[in-house]
Symmetry: C2
Subunit: 175 residues, 2 copies
C-alpha cells in the first residue's frame, strides 16, 4: 500500500472511524465493547478531551486505521501511556498496524511518557500479540478468562508492557 500518511484525527474523520470501530466491535474478538456501545461513547473514546488520536490514510483520503494514546493512570501513574489500535478490516494484512504502532511509540516518547502498557490484549488475537512483541512489548501478566470472546467463550487476556526510556535515565522524582 502506497502513500500512507499518519496524522492527528479530527471531527471530519469520525464517520470513518466509527465504521471501523463498529466492525471490530461486531466481531467480538478483540475489544470489550459490545454492539450496544453508543456512537456518543465511541466519540468520547476516540475524540474526547485528553485523548490523542491519530489516523492512517491512503492518498490523504481513505481511512485505513487509527490509534488513541492516553495516560494509563492519572497522577502517580501518569508516566505510563496506554494505547488502542484498530485497522480497517479491508486494510488488514497490509502492515498498517505496524505503522500505527511505530508512530504511537514515537508519539508517546515525544509526549514524555516513560513506559507503555496494554491492559487487555485478548490472548487469541495472535496477530496482534506477535506484532506487539516485534515492537518491543512483553507479556507481563495473564488475566485468566477475563475476556468473553464471541466465538470461543471465556479466554485469557494479557497485560503487555514496555519501557520507552531506559529506567536508569528516568527523571528524578519530585513529590
Amino acid at each position: 500500500m502506497k502513500d500512507i500518511q499518519i496524522r492527528p484525527a479530527g471531527e471530519h474523520d469520525f464517520d470513518a472511524m466509527w465504521s471501523i470501530f463498529c466492525a471490530h466491535v461486531a466481531s467480538g474478538e478483540t475489544y470489550p465493547f459490545t454492539t450496544a456501545t453508543s456512537r456518543e461513547a465511541g466519540h468520547a473514546y476516540w475524540l474526547g478531551p485528553d485523548v490523542a488520536s491519530f489516523v492512517a490514510t491512503s492518498g490523504g483520503a481513505r481511512l485505513l486505521g487509527m490509534y488513541r494514546l492516553v495516560p494509563n493512570q492519572l497522577g502517580r501513574g501518569h508516566h505510563v501511556a496506554n494505547a488502542s489500535f484498530m485497522v480497517s478490516p479491508s486494510a488488514q494484512g497490509a502492515g498498517i498496524g505496524r505503522l500505527l504502532g511505530e508512530h504511537c511509540l514515537d508519539e508517546a516518547r515525544r509526549q514524555g511518557y516513560l513506559a507503555m502498557q496494554f491492559n487487555y490484549v485478548v490472548s487469541t488475537n495472535t496477530a496482534a500479540i506477535r506484532l506487539w512483541k516485534k515492537l518491543g512489548f512483553s507479556i507481563v501478566g495473564t488475566l485468566p478468562k477475563a475476556f468473553r470472546h464471541k466465538r470461543l467463550g471465556f479466554v485469557d487476556a494479557y497485560v503487555m508492557y514496555q519501557m520507552l526510556q531506559d529506567p536508569d535515565h528516568w527523571p528524578t522524582v519530585d513529590a
Copy 2:
C-alpha cells in the same frame, strides 16, 4: 474494635469518605491520585452512577473505611469486578481492611461477578498485598516502575486476580 457494621455508602457519608480519601492521597504511597484531585472527582469515584460503595462504621457512627465495587471492563469484560479500598488512618491495624475485603468478595459474588481483578497494587504496600493473598488473590502480573511513590520514587505495581466462581461452572456464553 466492636460493633462494626458494613452498609451501602450514601451522600451523608461523603464528608467522612473525602477525609479518608485525602489522607491516603496525601501519603502518595498507595493510590495514583494526587492532591490536585478535586472533591468532585472524588465524589464521582466513590458515589458516581454505576459505582457500588460500602462503608464500615463503628457503633453506626464513626466511619472506619470504605470500598467501591465496579466492573473492571465494560461489555466483554464485565464479568470481572474491580474494587478499591481505603481504611481511615486512625483505624488501621484493627482488621477493618480484612472485614471490608471479605464483604466485598461476598458482594461481588452476590452481584454475579465471576472473578475480581486489582489493576494497580503498589508493590511496596506489603500489608495490603499480604491481606489480598490471605483473601485468595494471586499476583498475576508485574508492572515495572509503574507507580511514582512519593517517598521511594518509581516502584513496581502488581496486578492481582482471583476467580470468584469455579471456572468449570461459569455460565455458558451467549454471543
